[in-house]
Subunit: 131 residues, 2 copies
């Protein structure tokens, strides 16, 4: 995933454990920071939901990205996938305890953004304005 950094850090006497942490932290931040994860997680907080329901609940997402993101969440143990042996198929996605725990940790960050978004948007306008 990130072959360059570890070797460069390793040569500097930095603890391998710390490198691991940096990599995992960055990785998880990248996941919650991506285009769709938070939207999906937010929807899933209300309870289990099927693939198609999610597809309708998250406007604008493609089938492909929905499947990808759900697979990533499942892989990390943040959601569970339950397939019922029926035809036509039915699949439920549910947030795990770990997923809910992450969601509430992210909530505080989202709170920060809500509290400061005006300031940020303002800073951008000033920066971009060609005085």
């Amino acid at each position: 995933m990130d072959a360059g950094l570890p070797s460069e850090l390793a040569g500097r006497g930095i603890e391998p454990d710390c490198i691991e942490t940096i990599l995992v932290v960055r990785d998880v931040l990248a996941r919650v920071g991506d285009k769709w994860t938070m939207l999906i997680v937010t929807v899933l907080r209300d309870g289990p939901m099927r693939f198609t329901a999610l597809h309708h609940a998250v406007p604008g997402i493609s089938q492909r990205m929905l499947a990808h993101t759900l697979s990533a969440l499942t892989r990390d143990g943040l959601a569970t996938r339950t397939a019922y042996p029926e035809v036509p198929p039915r699949v439920d996605y549910t947030l795990t305890e770990l997923g809910r725990s992450l969601a509430s940790a992210v909530d505080r960050l989202v709170g920060w953004v809500r509290d400061h978004q005006d300031e940020i948007v303002d800073n951008r306008r000033q920066f971009d304005s060609p005085d």
Copy 2:
């Protein structure tokens, strides 16, 4: 930046303010979730630093990405850029109050990741193992 989502949300009777928030939240999450931002911010928390010092303090980053990321931080008002009219040029970057405030908000999330990284890494191994 994200032309599709707003129009799709707008058609559903969702408040424009809420759309704004979703977009800004996602945007800020994407910034802290990108490959270099957190590393740079972490280094900057110890105090002001010049461009070259940052380049050395953040192993593996290219000059281009360092300049880009610093510019983005400055644009959002998370850092300030101070250029001294000398030759050779000297430029300092400093975290603003807003930047420090974000950093500590992110800290809690980083704490969560540290607390659960073993669990996550474990889940991935199980998911990837070809049982």
